[in-house]
C-alpha cells in the first residue's frame, strides 16, 4: 500500500486534514539534526559528573547535596523489569549526561542574544521563540503579528539537550504573578519554592529512573501560579534531543497554589539516528485547594526506523498530588514516538472532592513498544477519577495499558470509571491490558471496562465503498476511535495530534 500520491483528487466528504495527514506519511518529520558545536561532560556517570552538572548550572550547595544523595541511592537500585518492554541492556556508563550548545556557555540575557541556529531549530519545528509569533497549527500562524489573537498566546520554554534555551513571555507572566522559567533558574532565583516542593511528589528514591533523573537532571521547566491566579496564557515546554549518545533528563515542577489555574503543554522530538537514546524525565505537579492543572503531552520522540533501529528509550515518571480539597488535575497524552515507552502519569487524590483525569492515546507501529497507563490513588473522601485510554498497535509493535486504581479505606464515596480500548491493525502486533484494581471501602464505586478488537470491517467497507483508499479509511476509523481523547486536548495540540495519529500508522495497512 503506498501513500496517497499528490495528484489524487480529494474525494467529497473526506476530511481535508485526514487527506493531508495521509499525504504527509512517509518519514518522521522531525528526524533532521542541527549542526551546532556542543560542550559535553565526559561520558559515564559518577559523583564527579553529578557535581559537574550542578556546577554548570551554578547551583547552591544544598542542591548538589540533594543530587549526590540521589546518585548514592541510584547505585543501589535495580532497573525495573516488570513492564512488557524488551530492550537490550542499557550501559549507563556509555552515555553523555550533559550536553550544551557552546553558544549557551554564557546564558543569553534575552532571546535576541540566543544563537540563531537554535532559534532556527525551533522555528523549523514550528515552535516560535519570538513572542509575536504563536504556535504552529493555530489559525493565523506565520502571518503578521497583528493577526494573532492575543488570547491564544502560548509561552514557551525551549529545552535543547541539557539546557533551556529561552523562555518567552516571562515579563507578561510576571505581571500576573506567574513564575515560568527553567528549573535551573528557579533553583537560583526561587530556592525557597524549589526546596519546599522538589521531590515532594516523586521522592528521590521513587524508582530507578526517577532516582537517576534526580541525580543528573540538567534542566526543565518550573511553574508557580500564585493563589487565585488564572494563568493568562497556556504554558508550554518543548524538548529537543539533538546531540548523539546523550541522555536527556529534564525535570519539571509545577505548583498551582490555592484557587489557581494553569494549562501546560509539552512537546518533544529528536533527530533520526541509528543508535538508541535515553530519556528519563520527572514531572511533579502540586495542586492546592480549588486549583486546577491541565497537563497535555504530545510525545513524538524518534520511534526508530521501520526495522526497529534507533529511537528514544522514554522512561518517564509523572505524578500530580492533589493536596487541597477540590483540587483538579487532568493528564492528556498522545504517545506516538519513542522506541520504548515506560510512562504512567499518576494522580494522588489526597484532598476531599479532588479529581483526577487521564486521557491517553498510545500508538505503536513498526517495532515500537509502549507500556503506559496511570495510577489513581484515592485517599480523600468524595474523590473522583476517570481514565480513558486508547491503544493502537500496528506493524510488529507491542502496546500495553498498565494502570492502578486504588480506593483507600478512608476514601469514602469515591468514584472511578476506567475505559481502555485497544485496536489492532495487522496480525504481527500485540495489545495488552494490565489493570490493578484495589477497593478497600464499600461506599466507593469502581468500574473498569476494556475491549480489544480490530478495525471494524464494516466501517472500512463503508469508507471504501465511498471511494476512499484503504489507508485513508483506516486513518479515519482510527481518528474516530481516538475521538474522546482528542477532544480533551487543548486546541494547539488537537490538530497536531490528529495528524500524528495518521502519520504514526504509516505503512501499517496492506
Amino acid at each position: 500500500m503506498t501513500a496517497l500520491d499528490s495528484t489524487a483528487s480529494v474525494k467529497e466528504g473526506v476530511d481535508q486534514e485526514t487527506v493531508d495527514a495521509v499525504r504527509n506519511m512517509g518519514t518522521y518529520k522531525y528526524g533532521w539534526d542541527t549542526e551546532i558545536e556542543m560542550d559535553y561532560a565526559p561520558k559515564g556517570l559518577n559523583e564527579d559528573i553529578v557535581r559537574l552538572i550542578s556546577t554548570k548550572n551554578d547551583e547552591p550547595e544544598w542542591m548538589t547535596a540533594w543530587r549526590l544523595a540521589a546518585y548514592e541511592r541510584w547505585t543501589q537500585k535495580e532497573e525495573p523489569s516488570w513492564a512488557m518492554v524488551d530492550y537490550p541492556k542499557i550501559d549507563y556508563q556509555d552515555q553523555y549526561y550533559y550536553a550544551r550548545p557552546k553558544s549557551m556557555e554564557t546564558k543569553p540575557k534575552s532571546l535576541d542574544e540566543v544563537d540563531p541556529k537554535l532559534l532556527e531549530t525551533y522555528q523549523k519545528l514550528g515552535i516560535p521563540l519570538k513572542e509575536q509569533m504563536i504556535l504552529a497549527g493555530v489559525e493565523g500562524a506565520g502571518e503578521s503579528p497583528s493577526d494573532a489573537a492575543p488570547e491564544r498566546k502560548v509561552a514557551v520554554d525551549a529545552v535543547f539537550d541539557s539546557v533551556s534555551v529561552g523562555t518567552t513571555f516571562q515579563k507578561e507572566l510576571k505581571e500576573a504573578g506567574v513564575i515560568f522559567c527553567s528549573i535551573s533558574e528557579a533553583i537560583r532565583e526561587h530556592p525557597e519554592l524549589v526546596k519546599k516542593y522538589l521531590g515532594s511528589v516523586v521522592p528521590v528514591s521513587d524508582n530507578f529512573f526517577a532516582t537517576l533523573n534526580s541525580a543528573v537532571f540538567s534542566d526543565g521547566s518550573f511553574v508557580y501560579v500564585p493563589p487565585g491566579v488564572r494563568c493568562p496564557m497556556e504554558l508550554s515546554t518543548y524538548f529537543r534531543i539533538n546531540a548523539e549518545n546523550t541522555g536527556q533528563f529534564e525535570r519539571t515542577l509545577i505548583i498551582a497554589d490555592k484557587g489557581s489555574y494553569v494549562s501546560y503543554l509539552e512537546g518533544c522530538t529528536a533527530p533520526q539516528r541509528d543508535t538508541t537514546q535515553l530519556h528519563a524525565a520527572v514531572v511533579e505537579i502540586i495542586v492546592e485547594e480549588d486549583a486546577e492543572v491541565k497537563y497535555s503531552t504530545v510525545q513524538n520522540w524518534f520511534p526508530g526506523d521501520e526495522n526497529g533501529k534507533g529511537g528514544i528509550y522514554n522512561f518517564v515518571t509523572k505524578r500530580a498530588d492533589c493536596r487541597g480539597d477540590r483540587a483538579k488535575v487532568m493528564w492528556t497524552q498522545v504517545e506516538t514516538g519513542s522506541a520504548v515507552t515506560w510512562k504512567y502519569p499518576s494522580c494522588i487524590l489526597r484532598g476531599e472532592e479532588s479529581q483526577g483525569e487521564f486521557y491517553s492515546i498510545a500508538i505503536a507501529n513498526n517495532y515500537q513498544q509502549a507500556d503506559t497507563g496511570t495510577k489513581m490513588v484515592h485517599l480523600g473522601k468524595n474523590t473522583k477519577s476517570r481514565i480513558v485510554s486508547k491503544g493502537i498497535s500496528a506493524g510488529r509493535a507491542q502496546n500495553t495499558y498498565r494502570g492502578l486504581v486504588s480506593m483507600h479505606p478512608k476514601a469514602k464515596n469515591s468514584r472511578n470509571y476506567t475505559q481502555c480500548d485497544s485496536l489492532l491493525i495487522g496480525d504481527q502486533c500485540g495489545a495488552h491490558t494490565v489493570p490493578y484494581i484495589e477497593v478497600k471501602n464499600n461506599s466507593s464505586r469502581v468500574e473498569h471496562e476494556a475491549t480489544t478488537s480490530k478495525v471494524d470491517d464494516d466501517q472500512l467497507f463503508y469508507c471504501r465503498s465511498r471511494g476512499m483508499d484503504e489507508e485513508e479509511a483506516v486513518a479515519l476509523v482510527v481518528n474516530g476511535f481516538c475521538r474522546e481523547v482528542l477532544q480533551a486536548l487543548p486546541m494547539e495540540f488537537a490538530m497536531e495530534a490528529q495528524q500524528l495519529v495518521a502519520i504514526s500508522l504509516e505503512g501499517s495497512v496492506g
Binding site: M407, G426, G430, V439, S444, E449, S453
Partner: protein
C-alpha cells in the same frame, strides 16, 4: 536449588523435609520431573507478582496450621442426588464411605493403586498438563502436588455415564495436610459431570488435570465451604481439543484462605470454556480466584464470570488473564469480575488482564466493585420487603450471572439454595 535466593531455598528445604516422594511405577519419573520444576522455582513468596494479593506463607509452611472442625450439623450438598460417591478423609481414600468404582462409560481408579503399574493411560497426562501450565507463570504449589500426591482419582471417560462422579472431602484432623491429584481424560464424543464438595483437611493442596479430546464435554461443579478455618490451594489444568466443551463452576463460602487457580489451554479450534465462581466471605475470609486462559486455536470462546460477596473485613481477589496467541484468530474472550461489599471493612483486589497477539478478536473484560444499590433497595422496601430480605434478594440477583454458568438446572438450584441459606444464617 543453587540458583534460588537464600530465603526461598530455605523455605523449600523446610517444606520438602516434611514430605516423602512416593516411589515406583509409571508415575515416578513424572514426580521427579515435578520436583525438579519445584526446585527450580522454589515456593511462592509474598513479593512474587503472582502472589501480590494473597499471602502464601501458610500454604508453604512445613506443617498445616491448626484448623478447628466444623461443629454444626448440615446436610451435605449433592447428597440427595443420584451419583457415584468417592470419599476422601483428610486426603485419604475411604472405601467404607465410597461406592464401588464402577460406572458404565467410564473407568475409575485410585492413583495410589494405578501408580504402581508399569504402563497406564494416565502416564501421558499426569503432571503433563501441570507442566504445560507452568509457563509463563510458575505455579510451584502445583508442581509440589504432582511430586508428592499419594492419592487421587484417575477417570477415563469413554461414553456418557448415567450419573455424575462426586468427590466428597472430609476434614477430621485439626492439623491434617492433604495432597490429592486427580486426572480426567474425556475421549472424543464422551461427556461427564464431576462434582466436588467438602473441606478436605486443615490444609488442602489439590490438582485436577483434565484433557478433553475433540468433541468431548466436561462439566464441573464444586462447593468449597463450611469449615471456617481451612486453607486450600487448588489448581485445575485443562487442555481442550477441537469442538470440545469445558464448564467449571465453584461456590466458596468461608475458609480462612482459598486460592483457586484455573489454567485452560485451547489446542483445538471451535472449543468453548466457561469458568465461573460465586464466593461469599464473612470476617477473616480470604478468597483468591486466579484464572489463566490461553487461546492457541481458531474460533474458540472463553468466558470468565466471578462474583464475590464480602462482609466483615473479608477479602476477595481476582486475577484473570486471557492470552490470545498469534494465530488464534476469531477468538471471543469475555471476562467479568465483580464484588459486592456489604460493609466498610471488606476489600476487593483485582487484576483482570488481556494479552493479545492476534488481530481478528473480540476480547473484553469488566470489573466493578461497590455496595448494594440504594435505589434498588428503596424500591424493594417501598413494596413492603423488609430491609434484610431485600438485601438478600439483591445479593442473590448479583450472584445470578455466575450461577447461570451451571448447565444442569437442578445443580444450579441446589447451589442457589445454599447461597440463600448462607445469607439467611448471617441475617440473624
Amino acid at each position: 536449588m543453587g540458583a534460588l535466593a537464600k530465603p526461598r531455598a530455605d523455605a523449600l528445604e523446610a517444606r520438602l523435609a516434611a514430605l516423602q516422594l512416593p516411589e515406583g511405577g509409571w508415575a515416578e519419573p513424572a514426580r521427579r520431573d515435578a520436583l525438579a520444576r519445584l526446585s527450580a522455582t522454589g515456593l511462592p513468596q509474598g513479593r512474587d507478582e503472582y502472589w501480590k494479593y494473597t499471602r502464601p506463607d501458610t500454604l508453604n509452611a512445613p506443617e498445616a496450621p491448626e484448623a478447628a472442625l466444623f461443629a454444626g450439623s448440615e446436610t451435605l450438598i449433592f447428597s440427595q442426588r443420584e451419583r457415584l460417591k468417592i470419599t476422601f478423609v483428610d486426603g485419604v481414600f475411604d472405601p467404607d464411605q465410597s461406592d464401588a468404582l464402577e460406572l458404565e462409560g467410564i473407568t475409575i481408579e485410585r492413583l495410589s493403586e494405578a501408580a504402581n503399574r508399569d504402563i497406564h493411560w494416565a502416564k501421558d497426562l499426569y503432571g503433563v498438563l501441570e507442566a504445560r501450565g507452568q509457563d509463563p507463570v510458575a505455579r510451584p504449589l502445583a508442581a509440589l502436588n504432582t511430586a508428592f500426591a499419594a492419592d487421587g482419582i484417575l477417570i477415563h471417560v469413554t461414553g456418557r455415564p448415567s450419573k455424575p462422579v462426586s468427590l466428597v472431602y472430609q476434614h477430621r484432623g485439626t492439623r491434617s495436610d492433604a495432597i490429592l491429584h486427580h486426572v480426567v481424560k474425556v475421549e472424543s464424543g464422551a461427556e461427564m459431570t464431576l462434582l466436588e464438595n467438602g473441606p478436605a483437611a486443615a490444609r488442602f493442596n489439590k490438582v485436577l488435570e483434565v484433557d478433553v479430546a475433540d468433541g468431548g464435554r466436561f462439566h464441573h461443579v464444586r462447593a468449597q465451604g463450611r469449615d471456617h478455618e481451612r486453607r486450600a490451594a487448588t489448581h485445575i489444568f485443562a487442555r481442550l481439543g477441537r469442538e470440545s466443551l469445558f464448564k467449571s463452576f465453584t461456590m466458596t463460602a468461608n475458609g480462612v484462605l482459598t486460592r483457586n487457580e484455573c489454567v485452560i489451554e485451547f489446542t483445538g479450534d471451535d472449543a468453548v470454556a466457561h469458568v465461573a465462581g460465586a464466593s461469599m466471605g464473612d470476617g477473616d475470609f480470604h478468597h483468591d480466584d486466579t484464572v489463566f486462559i490461553t487461546h492457541d486455536a481458531v474460533n474458540c470462546e472463553s468466558r470468565q464470570v466471578f462474583k464475590k460477596v464480602l462482609r466483615n473485613g473479608a477479602t476477595g481477589v481476582f486475577q484473570g488473564k486471557i492470552l490470545v496467541k498469534k494465530d488464534a484468530q476469531q477468538t471471543d474472550g469475555y471476562q467479568i469480575s465483580q464484588s459486592l461489599l456489604l460493609d466498610e471493612d471488606s476489600q476487593f483486589l483485582a487484576k483482570p488482564e488481556l494479552e493479545i497477539y492476534a488481530d481478528d478478536v473480540a476480547c473484553s473484560h469488566g470489573s466493578t466493585s461497590g455496595a448494594i444499590d440504594d435505589d434498588a433497595l428503596y424500591y424493594l422496601r417501598s413494596r413492603g420487603v423488609p430491609r434484610r430480605e431485600a438485601q438478600d434478594m439483591l445479593t442473590l440477583s448479583f450472584l445470578a450471572e455466575a450461577l447461570a454458568e451451571i448447565e444442569d438446572e437442578d445443580l444450579a438450584e441446589e447451589i442457589r439454595e445454599r447461597l440463600e441459606a448462607w445469607l439467611s444464617r448471617r441475617r440473624g
